[in-house]
Amino acid sequence: MSAKVKVVKRKGDTLPEKLYLVEVLKGMKTSFGHFWRNLRDNSRLYVRHYPEQQPEITPRWRGRHRLTTHEDGSIKCVACFMCQTNCPSRCIMIEAGERLDDRDEKLPVRFDIDLLECIYCGYCVEACPKDAIRMDTGIFSLVEHNREKMLVGLDELAATPGAFTEDDYQKRGL
């Protein structure tokens, strides 16, 4: 068995490289170039002035969840518990109730997501047979002063609109 051996020449063997000082000066020249460019004109810094300039969120981004609704405003969720069962971090807590409109049999009376537990994996979205839960709100920064506020309920989840058009969302290609 003759393995193919490719001999790679070791770099850094020349005298100026071994002296190290020359290479140090080269590196310092490069970094000073950056410094000088930014000192003269700080408008070209590769930074986003964050709270004022928000990043562009793509439809594939998994942000905070929302519950979708039909055109008449009734909730799409049928409380099948698929998302709750599938959730790896067990952050979804559903309580089912009887549905009185003719769309289906059940609807959630309580749909809580503990956002501190959630790992934003998106399995709930994949599991949902009714396309009732989506993570397309584009909300990526969630800050509250206490833990209780991080538990979002049915009303808040249903009230949040999606950040993208239906067309863009469908084309996100998952």
Partner: protein, 428 residues
């Protein structure tokens, strides 16, 4: 002792004590904004007082307030509390005290008396710096040992071994320098560097001792525990090294001590190799004779420089996003007004120099001020080199560090001593 004597003593001691402390703020600011610009980001620029951010300097105030009001924890497992609390004080004190022998202006002659412009007018000079550099190790060793923490211990060991081994090339580099200057007194060294080589090159240490400069600067970086030799606090392996267990002000004292050490070693490097307070081609006597032309040139130069500086402020102190009624533009306008005011005051002072009799006390003081400004400018530039190197070079590995110290710098500095000795004997 006359009043002038007492005043000058107070001035010199307060210069020696407060300038390093003020430079902590400047250096921390320079480090952070510099790091930002080296890495194409902007650095701290949000903390403000009534919208005034002072280019990020206000961030230092915010950090200081945070560190002062943080809980000062002494962990329960620490048995030797005295050493634990004493260690940061040693590091800080030795750093401040070693600045005391650095001359920041030429000997000031008022009437028939002359005043050595050092905080402690002693002639042990550079030896004092070496002695206190040795003491700084105690702070690190005691901090690492008293922390009773693996990381702290390892960090302390590394730092101590590093400082001890780099003291040798540093001392040997100094030996050849002393042979050239013929003195250990830093004031006399700076005066020596006011001469001209072949009549047109300033006789700075960097020209007489280029190899000595390289060895000394590398050793000084290692002594100050700065990158690329900062593996005493290599965060990837040792968390924070010898100061893992320190919090709040005790940590802040270490932190400030590090920056004071950086400032002091910059000042020493400047004094030893870059002419100290000497303005190239204009030594003290020349300056005293030509004080008025120099003042005129400065009077003309200041507004021109200020004009361009104001333009730069106006260009850079803006919000880089759509913002109605940009407050940063208003901020810039205020800064520019204040700076023009400062320039106006300086012009008035220069005018007073022009009107005063030449060669008198006023001229001498003017020359001393010019030299202080030169010294501080040079030291700031050297500190910038520290920052520059920190954000360019990666950290050494520990064996590489010791190899560099013992197998490269030590023989090189010995070689330097022999060459220098031969040349000095041949020339004299």
């Amino acid at each position: 002792m006359s009043n002038v004597d007492i005043l000058l003593v107070i001035l010199r001691v307060s210069f020696g004590a407060f300038v390093p402390l003020c430079f902590i703020a400047v250096l921390v600011w320079m480090e952070r904004r510099g790091a930002g610009f080296f890495q194409d980001r902007s650095g701290p620029n949000r903390a403000n007082i009534f919208g005034f951010r002072a280019a990020g300097l206000v961030q230092n105030l915010a950090d200081a307030a945070k560190l002062i009001f943080k809980e000062d924890v002494v962990p329960g497992h620490i048995k030797h509390k005295f050493y634990f609390i004493f260690a940061p004080a040693i590091v800080f004190f030795t750093a401040v005290a070693s600045f005391a022998v650095v001359p920041f202006a030429d000997t000031l002659v008022i009437g028939d008396k002359s005043y050595v412009m050092q905080a402690i007018p002693t002639d042990v000079g550079i030896l004092w710096f070496l002695a206190l550099a040795g003491f700084a190790v105690y702070g690190i060793i005691l901090a690492g040992w008293a922390s009773t923490n693996k990381y702290g211990m390892l960090g302390g060991l590394r730092a101590a071994a590093q400082v001890i081994s780099y003291e040798i090339p540093m001392g040997l580099a100094l030996v050849s320098l002393l042979a050239v200057y013929g003195t250990v007194n830093l004031s006399e060294m700076a005066q020596f560097q006011g001469q001209l080589l072949f009549g047109f090159i300033p006789m700075w240490g960097v020209i007489l001792q280029p190899l000595g400069l390289i060895i000394f600067v590398v050793a000084a970086f290692a002594e100050a525990n700065r990158t690329p030799f900062d593996l005493a606090e290599g965060e990837s392996e040792l968390v924070a090294g010898f100061h893992v267990e320190y919090s709040a002000m005790k940590f802040a004292v270490f932190f400030m001590g590090e920056y004071v050490a950086m400032f002091t070693s910059s000042a020493i490097i400047v004094t030893l190799f870059f002419g100290g307070y000497q303005i190239p081609w204009l030594n003290t006597e020349t300056l005293v004779v030509y004080a008025k032309p120099v003042a005129v040139v400065l009077m003309l130069l200041l507004p021109v420089l200020m004009y361009y500086f104001a333009g730069w402020i106006r260009k850079s102190n803006v919000s880089h996003y759509d913002r109605p009624n940009d407050p940063r533009r208003r901020e810039a306008a205020v800064y520019i007004k204040i700076l023009w005011g400062v320039v106006a005051i300086m012009e008035l002072i220069l005018l007073a120099i022009l009107l005063s009799p030449s060669g008198g006390v006023a001229t001498r003081i003017f020359v001393a001020e010019l030299q202080i400004a030169t010294f501080l400018l040079k030291t700031t530039l050297m500190c910038f080199v520290y920052v520059w190197v920190r954000w360019t070079l990666p950290r050494f590995r520990y064996d590489q560090l010791q190899k560099l110290g013992w197998q490269t710098l030590l023989p090189l500095s010995l070689l330097n001593i022999f060459i220098t000795g031969a040349v000095v004997v041949a020339v004299s």
